[in-house]
């Protein structure tokens, strides 16, 4: 049931005529993925998903949309006309693809080599995956650098 709501909210993102509604639908998608994560026994990742994907990213999207000029009524009417032409095939395509994949999945043996048998997330994150953290720190620095460069140039003009 939750998975069907997930697909419906993702389709709402596609079919929304105003981008603000699309961003809020994306937050809804995040919330449903959070519930699924809690059900799949991964609370820490779920908290991250809820706070960052449903919170911070929605704020970033809404800020960007508010910076950009809102579309006029004519553009909205044009988009509403066009969207059904553009996206009318999408639900059928999605349904057919889902059916085909569910038919095509065959039983496979799921015995993987057991490399990491740690059950504590903190130990995995801090002890076993240290390179990931280093990568995150580098990405953080590059991201901050990029944003600073972008906005500095904007201020000059």
């Amino acid at each position: 049931m939750l998975l069907i709501i997930l697909i419906v909210t993702a389709l709402m993102v596609v079919f929304s005529s105003r981008m603000l509604i699309g961003a809020i639908s994306l937050a809804l998608t995040s919330i449903i993925i959070t519930i699924l994560m809690f059900k799949l026994n991964s609370p820490l990742a779920a908290v991250f998903e809820l706070s960052i994907c449903a919170g911070l990213i929605t704020v970033i999207f809404i800020t960007t949309i508010s910076f950009v000029k809102p579309s006029t009524e004519d553009e909205l009417i044009e988009f509403r006309k066009l969207r059904f032409k553009k996206y009318i095939y999408l639900p059928f395509l999605v349904a057919v693809a889902g059916y085909l994949v569910s038919v095509a999945i065959k039983p496979i043996s799921l015995k993987l080599p057991e490399i990491i048998q740690e059950t504590n997330v903190r130990n995995v994150l801090w002890d076993l995956r240290q390179v990931d953290l280093l990568g995150q720190a580098i990405v953080l620095l590059i991201g901050v650098f990029g944003i600073v460069v972008l906005f500095k140039e904007g201020r000059k003009k």
Partner: protein
């Protein structure tokens, strides 16, 4: 919930594929830069969901959760920098339409 691993995979993987198709379709057909970012987000959500399901099925939740945390944090930076680029493009060209960005046209 007494489902075998195979049943869980059979339930979740079609929905993951559906999410990926929605995201790709959206990115391919839209011309608005902000909408392209929304499509990218949908694809990322599919990736996150598939990693969590894989971790649950192989009984390796700790590794899956740490990977998902890394993905989420990098995703935020991607979105933040992309939003900065979009605002900059808007200041330069006055629109967020992909077809208007033709400064490097040969």
């Amino acid at each position: 919930m007494n489902m075998t691993n195979m049943e869980i995979l059979k339930i979740f993987i079609p929905f993951v594929v559906m999410l990926i198709i929605i995201g790709f379709y959206y990115i391919l057909l839209t011309r608005n830069l902000i909408r392209i970012l929304l499509g990218l987000e949908i694809i990322t959500k599919a990736a996150i969901l598939s990693i969590i399901v894989a971790g649950y099925v192989t009984n390796n939740m700790a590794l899956a959760q740490s990977l998902v945390i890394v993905i989420i944090i990098i995703e935020v930076f991607v979105i933040a920098v992309a939003a900065g680029v979009i605002i900059h493009i808007y200041k330069q060209t006055g629109s967020v339409d992909v077809s208007n960005i033709r400064n490097l046209r040969g």
